[in-house]
Each structure stands twice: as C-alpha cells, then as structure tokens.
C-alpha cells in the first residue's frame, strides 16, 4: 500500500506527480471501509467527497510543503470548525465547534488532508480507549485486546493505514500507551512545545499535543510543521523550533542512556522486560553507553499524578452544563464521574492541603529527581507499559488497577519532559511491545535522532497487523 511508505517518500512521489493526493485519500477510505467497523478507530469520518476535494486542491496547489496532500486524522479531543467534536463523550455528541484547534489549523494550512476524528477515552480519562461512548477501540493486532488509550483510535488508524499520521494527546501516557500497544511510533512533546489551543482540556498542567505515525522520521516532519509559540496559548513555549526532520542523522556514539532501576521493577512482565533488554542491547551496539540510574520517588508518581489530574479535570469539566453547547452532565460515564468526584474531593476545604497541595509538592520532588539525572545521562530508556496489551475489560473493573498501568508514563507528564515511544518487539502472542526514550526539556531532536537510529537498526516498526 502507498500508506506503508514514509511521509517523505510519499511527498517525493506527490511532487513528481507519480501519485496524486487523491489516490492516497482513496486508499485511506478503503482501509476505513474495510476495518473501521471492527476497530472503531473513528468517531467521525469526513465525507469522502470533501476529503477528495481537499486532495485535488493540494494536487493543484502551486506551492507544496512537506505535508501537502498527506492524509491525517485527529484525536476527537481537537476542535475542528464545523466538524463534530465529541472528546469521546456523549456530553458533546452534538457539538459542532465554530473554531479549530491551532494544531489542526497549522496542518490544514500546510495542505494536509483531514480524514476524520478518532475514538478515544472520553476526556482523556483512560489508558485503554474503553471509557468511550462510541464503542471500545480494538487493537488491530488482536481484536480481543485493547488498543491502549486514551489516543487508541489514532494509534489504530495509523496501524491500519487509515492515514499517514495522526495527532494524539498525552496527559499521562495517552500517546505512548496506544503507540506501544499498536506498534506505532508516538511522541509526547515537552510541555508547551505545541499549542494546546483547541485541545479539549483534561488536565491543564499535564496535557500535551503530539504526533503519531509509523516512524520517528515521520514524527519529525510533523513536529517541525506544527510546533511553536501560539499567542492563543499563554503556556506555549516561545523557544525556537528546530528543523527536526533534518537533524535525524546525528550519530549515537557516545550518547549516555540512563535506565532507571525502578523501571525494571517486579511489576514488569517478563515479555516486556525481554523487549527492554533487547532495546538496551541495540542501543549499546549503536554506540551508546548504558548507565543505571534511580528515581527514588517513582512509586509515588501514580498517586501524585492522579490527584493533580483529577483535580484539574474536575475544574476543566465544570463548563459542561448543556446550555451553550452539548448535553447535560448526566451523560458523563461512571469513570469520568469518579474522576470528577475524586478531584473535587481533593480540592475541597479540609482535604485541599493534604491531598492536592501535597501532590503538587511531590511533583516538585520528582522534577528534582529527574533534573539530577541529566548530569550523567543524555536520555533515559525504559518500558512504556508494565504488560503486553490487555484483554478488553481486564482493567475496567478496578480503577486503581487501571491507574497503576500508567506507572512508567505519568512521571514524564508530571515533569514536563519529552518522550518518544518506539515499537520494540512482540510477545509470543504477536502482541506489540514498546519502549520509550525520555529526554531533556525541549530536546525532541535528540530523541527523534536516537529513535531514527534505532529504526534504521531494527525492523519492529515496519511490521504490519494482519487485518
């Protein structure tokens, strides 16, 4: 399939008119027709004629950018003008935004073709894309397994060749978890690297906007096109954006990669551990030095994260009253209601100091512990999930069990660091396993270069699900 190729390869073919954007879009819609019913990767698919019209416009446009004519999809957490946006929740089932998210605007301005809006855990509340009012997203590698969450639909869509890339959203692992479970590559950026304007807020001090695709090379291209300050997002970074896609050849020799010993704790399943060990060997062979490091407060990361995230989400979701848009609050799922109630409780007078405030102090501790690592390391390596993709329903009975699955991803959100999730192998049952590379603030380029090097030396990311 054309959509097996990298974005750069597709752009070369498009520029030389060997293929047309129309063909790419047609291919995407064929994949959707074949597989979306089984996967539930989309909540809203654009009318094919509208996408084709955009494709023709891209084909006929005199100026081309790196993403011109490339089909993409957006997690349904991003508002899109005049195109229904639900955040995975029945509360917004009827919401037609009169405005678009900055990331959407930048991509469309660059000529990329929007195919549709991806299914997700409602409001970002989940790690498996089962907490959705639009049917759980299925893992393209095994329909009885979850696709990961909360950006499960985006990961499944990329894996199933329904688009060349997707924009997901990572608050506690929501790009990295589904990326690893669906064998795609996903980037959680440094907090503030990408504008959050138009991204329906889950937790304002944790939410990040990020790309998902089949390779680090693809991610670099997308990142370069959408990163950068936005006057509409006061927290967006004013730091310079680099040409990430031109910095991928940086050799790995001499790179010091830390492996936190807490990341290799007992919770880790044997199969995941083997994949991580294999990744360590690959990086060693590429010339990196592996160092054992420690994050002493790691075991507190999940409660710290969930106290802050639920507090902030209880606040951010207060606006949904069905008056100016959407439906009433009785349409929230039970999991969402739980998070709102826990968050309201944590902020309540009498508990505020011992719960919310204490958690924000714990956050400072974690930030300090990570900061201390950069004197001896250039980046960190570890698993994304403690286990291979879960069976549907395995985690939904016990919320705490669900939260504990985020043990390796949430510390990165709490500290605001960037992290790249890379396909790193398969279980005996042919279920994908991923690893993550965690970097210094705003050092996406080192991560992407290290990821590209890894993907030149391995073939995991090229494997396709047998749909």
């Amino acid at each position: 399939m054309l959509l097996d190729r990298t974005i750069a390869e597709l752009q070369t073919l498009l520029s030389s008119k060997e293929i047309s954007a129309r063909e790419l879009v047609e291919e995407a819609y064929v994949s959707i027709e074949k597989h979306n019913n089984a996967l539930s990767a989309f909540i809203t698919v654009r009318e094919k004629k509208d996408a084709l019209r955009d494709a023709d416009a891209a084909d006929n446009s005199p100026s081309r950018g790196p993403l011109s004519g490339i089909p993409f999809c957006l997690k349904d957490a991003y508002v899109t003008k005049d195109l229904r946006t639900t955040a995975g929740s029945a509360v917004l089932d009827t919401f037609i935004p009169p405005y678009s998210a900055t990331v959407a605007e930048r991509l469309l301005a660059g000529g990329a073709i929007l195919i549709g809006k991806n299914n997700m855990d409602a409001w970002g509340h989940g790690s498996t894309s089962e907490n959705t009012d639009y049917g759980a997203v299925r893992n393209p590698w095994n329909l009885g397994r979850v696709a990961g969450g909360s950006s499960g639909g985006s990961a499944a869509a990329v894996a199933a060749r329904m688009a060349a890339f997707a924009i997901g959203e990572d608050t506690g692992g929501s790009i990295r978890a589904p990326a690893s479970m669906c064998n795609v590559t996903g980037l959680k950026v440094t907090y503030g690297r990408l504008s959050r304007y138009g991204a329906i807020a889950y937790a304002s001090s944790l939410d990040t906007v990020g790309p998902m695709a089949k390779s680090a090379e693809d991610l670099a291209l997308v990142l370069a096109a959408v990163a950068g300050a936005d006057p509409r997002d006061a927290t967006s970074s004013r730091r310079e954006v680099h040409a990430y896609h031109r910095l991928l050849e940086k050799p790995l020799a001499g790179t010091r990669i830390g492996v936190p010993k807490e990341f290799l704790a007992e919770e880790l399943s044997g199969e995941v551990r083997r994949a991580v060990d294999e990744a360590i060997r690959t990086y060693t062979s590429l010339g990196a030095t592996i160092i054992s490091v420690s994050i002493p407060s790691l075991s507190f990361a999940v409660p710290i994260y969930y106290l802050i995230a639920t507090s902030e989400t209880s606040s951010n979701l207060n606006r949904y009253d069905g008056v100016r848009f959407g439906n009433g609050r009785e349409r929230f799922t039970e999991e969402t209601m739980r998070r709102i109630v826990v968050g309201t409780y944590a902020l309540k007078a009498g508990y505020h100091d011992e719960l919310y405030t204490r958690a924000t102090k714990g956050r400072t501790l974690l930030i300090r512990e990570f900061d201390a690592l950069w004197s001896s390391c250039d980046m960190l390596l570890g698993p994304t999930m403690p286990d291979v993709p879960y069976k549907l329903g395995a985690l939904t009975e016990d919320p705490v069990k669900m939260y504990l699955a985020d043990i390796f991803t949430v510390p990165v959100n709490l500290t605001g660091l960037p992290s790249l999730a890379l396909p790193a192998g398969f279980s005996d049952d042919n279920l994908p396993i991923g690893v993550q590379l965690i970097g210094k603030k705003f050092d996406e380029e080192s991560l992407l270069a290290a990821g590209a090097a890894y993907q030149r030396a391995t073939k995991w990311h090229k494997k396709e699900p047998a749909l």
Binding site: L307, M337, I340, K348
Partner: protein
C-alpha cells in the same frame, strides 16, 4: 484509612453538579473510597519543606495588548446550545447559587 460515606460522596458530587443515581451510590462510594485510599500513599512523601509546582510552563508575563479582535458571528454563536431571540436560555430550575 479514611472511609467516605455515600452521603459525603453525594455531597461532593452535588458540588460538581453531578448526581449519582441512588441505586448506584453505594457501589460508587466504594470506588471513590478505594481510589482516595490509594492516593493517600502520598502522605509518606517527605515534602514538608518542598515548594509546590502548580504549572509547568517556564514562561512568565505572557499577555496581550489591549486590541479588539473579531468576535463570533451570531450564526457561529448559536450553532450549538439552547437559545431564543439572541439569548442562551436555561431552565429556571437550574438556577441555584
């Protein structure tokens, strides 16, 4: 370990504009209690002298000049929600402060 009564849970839910159906309340409250009990792990953290981190942005003094920009058109304003004669309407019963 603290136990949160179903009444307390319903009261907190009310603060958040939520209502737990009575038949689900007991189970829901149990879930809340379990979650909060787990969160209380953080009591073990030695954070007495540690400052809070309320936000991650490294920026400060981000503001806008006092210029007027375009507002939404009436069509855009009212393409969602319940409205009549140019106003959003809310049932009188929803009001309670």
């Amino acid at each position: 370990m603290r136990s949160i009564t179903p009444e307390e849970v319903q009261e907190v839910a009310r603060l958040a504009g939520l209502h737990v159906p009575p038949e689900k309340l007991a189970g829901f409250a149990k879930g809340i209690t379990a979650i909060v009990a787990y969160m209380e792990e953080i009591k073990k953290l030695p954070v007495e002298t540690v400052p809070e981190t309320a936000r991650l942005t490294e920026e400060s003094n981000v503001w806008r000049e006092d210029t007027v920009t375009e507002s939404l058109s009436q069509k855009e304003v009212f393409q969602n929600g319940t409205h009549a004669e140019g106003y959003f309407v809310v049932p009188a019963v929803l009001k309670h402060k």
